[in-house]
Amino acid sequence: MSASIQVSSAWLKFRCYNNPSPSLKEFVLGGLKRNKHAHGAEEFFALKNINLSVKAGDRLGIIGLNGAGKSSLLKMIIGIYPPTNGTVAVEGKVTSLIEMGTGFDLELSGRENIHLNGTLLGQSYRQMRRLEKEVIEFSELEEKIDLPVKYYSTGMFGRLAFSIAAVIKPQILIADEIFATGDAYFIEKSFNRMRQMFQDSQIIILVSHSLTQVVELCNKVIVVDRGEIVNAGNPQEMVDFYANSIVPVAGRRGAAEHGAGSLA
């Protein structure tokens, strides 16, 4: 099966409840006082009219400022946030690395977390048992693998998390800032691994603030700004566009406006 992602005129409205789940007291009192504030929700569009078509073989990079909607876009594609309007159609098995170490249980050992995390990413337990050795080898955590992960350093944590995703070989890999932790050596190593994964996976979507990585790894790039795709095209051009047209403007924008979209 050939993997594909079709996003057509998708809008994503965030509802920021002032109080997402009111307590009984607040519920009753709010009702009595007709306190709009307590019950109300502020709404804003995190993503506006997104049209995107990603086919097998595509390596899509997403660049943009903080709060531009990059992560929201990824989360919409994964299905965490259903689009408010429009459609998102994804064909193929998705593995997402939104935040390193999601699904890690701090009390469990590294080895147990490999199993837990792998199964959360849709692998069978048996498969994870088979891949376990490869994960440990890649992460270079041989001596520490049976320690609870709460004793791990941030770098070790990140290495383990990346290594799990690295051996799974998903059809569609969606990754958000996955090189943020780890030392230069491990980043280099995982970067090379990513290149290899790019051959195994049909689709990769990568969010990164490292523009050189984006240029090197991706064949298509979109620039997202304030919830919209403002430009799309080949990596080098987009990175230049981003550096010349978006970044300088950001400084001039009001600080309040800038923070509005950073919920996700």
Partner: protein, 310 residues
């Protein structure tokens, strides 16, 4: 409106085979005509009940290994670092309820051995229900970090907590079996019906857990309200005291309690060593069925809102 036209024209201007549409050509332009374009809060993709059910089952099937891992880890962690380890899962219910059996048999002047079995047969399914509701009500809120970072079907964590409760129930059943053998309870063929009753109770508990998990997102106090209410309900049912203590004209009180019909199944099978009547089966199954359907209906209705309520 003019901005909409501009937007549409910008779209049209794109080549038809373009893979990503730039929604606005100029950086910095704002769209402020959203309300005219869509009715807020309505999702275009409405699903039939059958499609919803099929999708939910498929999604849960995809993460069944994770379900196993969660349940296994939770159980293992509970007795982690303790000297007796897993033995506690058998000892704990046994000892707790032996104390209760001793106390209440003294109060009601009963044969402690027989009364222990009577008590266990009611207490075990009740504990299963209670645990499902209590941990079910926090099943979505306490796993927020997962739900916001990976796509998991919303029924996943309620199912996880019920499976954990079911495992505890299983251990307690084994304890009860050991106790029954020790006090010389007759082993009857009706005991073969325990798994059937357990399946019905499991379905009921899954429904309850899902209902409470979603409802708690809209009213946080529900956890506390449920805890107090269920605690009070417990004493309306003849579990810790003999059924004869309730005058016949008040039997409607516990008979109108949906939970009691599940306890009754286990009591009939385990304590009375006979097959429950068809009517008993029918009542329990329909309560379980209705609860399950109601919870799925609630899930279908609120599924897309859940993530924003966390």
């Amino acid at each position: 409106m003019p901005i909409v036209h501009e937007l549409q024209e910008a779209k049209r201007a794109q080549e038809s085979d373009s893979w990503a549409t730039v929604s606005l050509a100029e950086v910095g332009a704002t769209v402020c005509v959203l309300d005219t374009q869509m009715a807020s809060g309505t999702y275009p993709c409405s699903e039939t009940a059958g499609a919803f059910l099929l999708r939910t089952v498929k999604e849960l099937d995809a993460v069944k290994f994770a379900l196993g891992a969660f349940v296994f880890n939770a159980l293992r962690r509970r007795y982690h670092n303790s000297v007796l380890g897993f033995a506690w899962s058998l000892l704990n219910p046994l000892l707790t309820m032996s104390v209760m059996a001793l106390m209440f048999s003294l109060i009601f002047h009963r044969n402690p051995q027989q009364f222990a079995v009577y008590l266990f047969a009611g207490m075990l399914p009740w504990t299963f229900i209670l645990e499902s509701v209590m941990s079910g009500s926090t099943a979505l809120t306490s796993f927020e970090s997962f739900l916001k970072k990976i796509y998991l079907p919303k029924a996943f964590f309620p199912l996880v907590v019920v499976c954990i409760a079911a495992a505890n129930f299983g251990f307690s059943l084994v304890s009860l079996g050991l106790l029954g053998l020790a006090v010389g309870m007759p082993v009857s063929s009706s005991l073969l019906l325990v798994p059937v009753a357990t399946i019905i109770l499991f379905i009921f508990n899954c429904g309850l857990a899902l209902l409470f998990a979603i409802a708690t997102l809209y009213l946080r106090d529900l956890t506390h309200i449920a805890s107090v209410t269920l605690g009070a309900l417990f004493y309306t049912m003849p579990v810790v005291y003999p059924i004869e203590q309730i005058p016949a004209q008040y039997s409607w009180i516990y008979l109108s309690d949906p939970f009691y019909h599940f306890l009754l199944l286990f009591k009939t099978i385990i304590y009375e060593s006979r097959q429950p009547s068809l009517r008993q089966w029918a009542i329990a199954s329909s309560i379980a069925g209705i609860t399950m359907v109601a919870s799925l209906a609630l899930l279908k209705w609120k599924e897309k809102d859940i993530i924003y309520r966390l």
